[in-house]
């Protein structure tokens, strides 16, 4: 649903949404890390399309100026601490947004390129996740030359695993990610490779202290059954 809402920003900027979607988008976009910046650009573009100029009847100016005498202006929005933090963060985010979006697009391009079963929704979710302002990136190392990284957002309790140069496993085996916390190894996403690459999104409710990957029978295990192949330092 969230990624669908991202895709509505352009249609929203052209007022081309039905009321239900318009309401849903308006509820979504102020809390979104991507939509406000995108929407601003779309709206600037839409405004450029307004090339017709029609001179109004001079009487209209008089009517308007008479009318606003009777109209009370809305009180300004008073910022409190919470909104201050939010807007400070969103300003910082906006500055970084371009760079992050490019980086995310590159990652999706490189990793996602080879994956047959990916769809736009997943890509959009992944890009959105990788643009999370609180993203923490951990690299996993192992004996093979694979590049494996975990991109963790504590705020969303969400992770992305991105890997390249992974060995293909046998048909009945799959990779499994484990979240290491104070209780030990908590099972996380199970994934396979496509031409050596993988990109997966997962959720985790706790506080990760580390990440590890094992190979497990297809479908995954409740506890690790193989040696650790990759682990955070």
């Amino acid at each position: 649903m969230t990624s669908d809402l991202h895709h509505l920003a352009a249609a929203y900027a052209l007022d081309a949404l039905d009321l239900d979607e318009r309401v849903a988008f308006e509820a979504h976009h102020p809390t979104c890390d991507i939509c406000p910046a995108e929407l601003a650009e779309y709206q600037e573009t839409a405004a450029r399309m307004a090339v017709d100029k029609v001179e109004p009847d001079p009487a209209m100016r008089d009517r308007l100026l008479a009318e606003i005498d009777e109209i009370r202006q809305l009180p300004p929005l008073v910022s409190d601490t919470v909104t201050d933090i939010r807007s400070a963060r969103s300003a910082a985010w906006r500055a970084a947004a371009g760079a992050i979006a490019v980086a995310a697009a590159l990652i999706v391009g490189v990793v996602g390129f080879q994956l047959g079963q990916r769809d736009q929704t997943f890509d959009a979710d992944l890009v959105a996740h990788l643009a999370s302002p609180d993203l923490v990136i951990k690299t996993l190392t192992g004996d093979s030359g694979a590049d494996v990284s975990i991109h963790w957002s504590a705020e969303h309790g969400r992770l992305a695993l991105l890997a390249t140069n992974l060995e293909a496993l046998g048909d009945d085996m799959e990779y499994q990610l484990w979240v290491l916390d104070e209780t030990g190894a908590v099972p996380s996403v199970v994934f396979t490779t496509h031409n050596g690459s993988a990109s997966v999104l997962g959720e985790f409710a706790g506080t990760p202290q580390g990440w590890a990957i094992t190979s497990e029978p297809a479908g995954g295990s409740a506890e690790p059954t193989s040696d650790v192949l990759y682990i955070t330092g």
């Binding site: 352009a10 052209l14 650009e41």
Partner: protein, 212 residues
């Protein structure tokens, strides 16, 4: 000293004129943008004269939007007046970090015009309007066209879109249709129209960005 003094105003005027000419050519960082922002800030404090200046700057463009979408000249004027009343009410909440004054004002105008069309016109009227739109993709004739350069720039950018993208974007923006209505008009899937609008607008943004 007496010889020097008269020189200064004329020199600074020249510089200002030069800067204004530059600003006009490069569109985005134009001094006019800052002037508009200043007018909105003043209007937010209840300054009616500033608001009148804002009206003078923007009324032809906003009336142009309303006329294009609602078609009926007197209804378009009525909607435009509502738009300015709304801008007066909302001036206190204008947030420069979310976009330019022009973008803010055009968004309010287009939104109001589209709402008026959707709420007031019967489906039969709308069918007629659709027919009108197909015939008349060009702007209403016999209206003065002030900014031919900008118009041509936007026209070129629209022409750079694929035919199906341009059609979807124009039916949505100039026609005031929802993407679902556009899907019916073009007899294609709704998802396809959504994608065409999005890709088209991104392309348009890039084309206009390069052109300016």
């Amino acid at each position: 000293m007496e010889n020097v003094k008269p020189m200064r105003p004329s020199r600074s005027t020249t510089r200002r004129q030069r800067r204004r000419a530059l600003g006009h050519a490069s569109s985005e960082a134009a001094p006019a943008v800052d002037a508009l922002t200043g007018l909105v800030y003043a209007a937010a404090k209840g300054d009616r004269a500033a608001f009148a200046s804002l009206y003078d700057e923007l009324a032809p463009t906003l009336l142009g939007i309303c006329r294009r979408v609602v078609r009926d000249p007197s209804l378009a004027e009525e909607v435009t007046q509502e738009v300015f009343v709304e801008m007066w009410r909302l001036a206190t909440r204008f947030d420069r970090s979310k976009g330019t004054v022009r973008s803010w004002a055009c968004a309010i105008a287009h939104n109001r015009a589209v709402d008026r069309v959707r709420s007031e016109q019967s489906s039969r009227d709308r069918d007629q309007r659709d027919a009108d739109h197909r015939v008349q993709v060009a702007p209403p004739a016999n209206e003065p066209v002030e900014d031919d350069l900008e118009r041509q720039r936007v026209r070129n950018a629209l022409d750079a879109l694929t035919e199906v993208q341009r059609e979807a974007v124009e039916l949505a923006y100039y026609g005031g249709h929802t993407y679902r209505e556009v899907a019916v008009l073009l007899d294609v899937a709704e998802g396809t129209v959504k994608t065409r609008i999005r890709d088209g607008l991104i392309r348009l943004r890039d084309e206009l960005g390069e052109a300016s």
